[in-house]
């Protein structure tokens, strides 16, 4: 039997996809379906599980902490993602100046936070943000600005952690931006300069549009990472010997994955935690669908 060329294409597509799909089934799809099953149970680990249908979901919608966690997660995303993009783009632009020296060294140094041990990082950041003896408040004091309680304050703990979140991920975005910048042909820039365009015009009219697909790609990845952030707020609020509550003080940094972790692994309410997890999934999916719609144009060829 001879296959038509489109059948042949489909056949090869699936052959190439086999390893991915098999692994995907085991490590994502099955756990996913199983977690959905758990979300239909009332299950404290110390007791028997009872099937309760969609009650966990109904309870969830009435749970203030659920809504609060969603709000905090969105707040985090809205603060961290633009922050990372703006700063790493600036760094990438600076490191792209042809006459700049020590490029490799700068690149390595700005990548270092990505691989720095989070325990060490949280120590240093906790000290920088320490309200009484910390460096940040020292400078704020010199400028005559108010000195917030940072990690001890329900209002300022999240912004302090956002700074750490930005610090940690700049390197990742910077590397991809650097790469994107180098795809912009020199000739176009030179032509613009001969035409008398200022640097600012050059950036707005040439660099930014040509870099757009890269920015969108980075943004998609960063948004997904932000919506499921866990380690940074966890370590900063409860890590090491702080004796803090994860997501504290007073749940002001309770991002959604901390919320799920707290329900499941600290309160042992696994069924309810799973139901909450599906809500998160729904949230990220809808955000991503919107983003995918935006990507489609620049990314489909």
């Amino acid at each position: 039997m001879r296959l038509s060329s489109s059948q042949r294409e489909t056949l090869w597509a699936y052959i190439f996809l086999i390893p991915t799909l098999v692994l995907f089934g085991f490590i994502v799809l099955y756990p996913f379906i199983y977690a959905f099953y758990l979300s239909l149970l009332e299950w404290g680990i110390f007791g028997n599980s009872t099937y309760t249908g969609l009650r966990n979901y109904a309870d969830m919608l009435k749970d203030n902490l659920f809504w609060k966690s969603i709000g905090i997660t969105l707040h985090w995303t809205a603060g961290v993602v633009p922050g990372i993009i703006a700063i790493s783009l600036l760094i990438a632009l600076a490191l792209n100046i042809p006459t700049l020296k020590l490029k490799g060294t700068f690149r390595t140094i700005y990548f270092i936070p990505v691989v720095t041990n989070m325990v060490a990082a949280s120590f240093v950041w906790r000290w920088l943000f320490e309200p009484t003896f910390g460096v940040v408040n020292y400078f704020l004091g010199l400028l005559g600005l108010p000195e917030p309680g940072w990690l001890a304050s329900t209002k300022w703990a999240l912004p302090a952690m956002m700074v750490v979140g930005i610090w940690k991920q700049i390197g990742f975005a910077m590397v991809i931006f650097l790469a994107g910048l180098q795809t912009i042909p020199k000739e176009i820039k030179e032509a613009a300069r001969i035409d008398g365009a200022s640097r600012w015009q050059e950036f707005c009219r040439i660099v930014l549009p040509l870099l757009n697909p890269t920015i969108v790609f980075v943004a998609v990845m960063l948004v997904i990472n932000a919506l499921r952030v866990f380690t940074i707020p966890y370590v900063m609020s409860a890590g090491g010997f702080t004796y803090g509550v994860p997501g504290g003080p007073l749940n002001s940094t309770r991002v959604f994955v901390i919320h799920i972790y707290d329900l499941g692994f600290r309160q042992f309410n696994i069924g309810y935690a799973s139901a909450n997890a599906f809500a998160l999934l729904l949230l990220i999916m809808s955000v991503t669908i919107i983003q995918m719609k935006l990507i489609e144009r620049p990314f489909e060829y």
Partner: protein, 275 residues
Amino acid sequence: MKGADYVLKVLVYFSLAIGVVIMLLPLVWMFSASFKPLGEVMRTPPTWIPLQPTVNNYKEVFRQVPFAKYYLNSVIVAIIVIGSVLITSSLAAYVFAKFEFPGKQIWFFLILSSLMVPFQVRMIPLYRISVSMGITDTLFGVSFPWLVDAFGIFLMRQFIITIPTELIEVARIDGASEPLIFWRIILPNCKQALSALAIFTFAWNWEEFLWPLIASNSNASRTIPIGLQSFAEQYGSNVHWQMAGAVVAIVPLLLVFMLLQKQFVEGITMTGLKG
């Protein structure tokens, strides 16, 4: 004009230098803490040059934990994961970039959405699978949840998409089989992208703690982060040992980055992530 350029340049160097301090501070602290007794590590504000320098922390780390064994385990796990991620990502990315077939959009979205399921939710089911497959406490079991990575597929797709489709068509007309096309045309053209993906995968996998802890029951399959974490105890944290361990642990990451960084940037340059 020249003057303005000069001012701009000074400004750039100055800002970059401030950035360098912020980027490096935790690393420097970690390095310095690894040579201090615990009492001094805890001090606020910190001492940057140890007042009572000591190498005991390093000795203790190696005495209390079979660190060399954990190191080897971490390296093997990293190799397994990177290998699998590179193979599955490039294959799947090739398909999603260059093939038209029914189900393409759905699969791509499904796989991408797997990035979004928090790991804590998958943990219990994954553990059940490991138990029923009998792979708990093996290095394969420790690597298992990371063998395919949606980020990798997404990243690779963006690269493969820029490889001219004519190259593939020509090869097909010449009678090359599909695997051969993948091997001879696709892979060589995204070698640098693969090395980029390798670095990211390495960095993320190297510090993974929760799953290795759950999947391992003995030193046969424990990895470095477990060793580091065991110094955080109920009534206080032995940060001085943790930091000594962390210094030893970060070395391969920095080495790999420094070795590959040039290729990494050039890799993306050559194929390009353009619109």
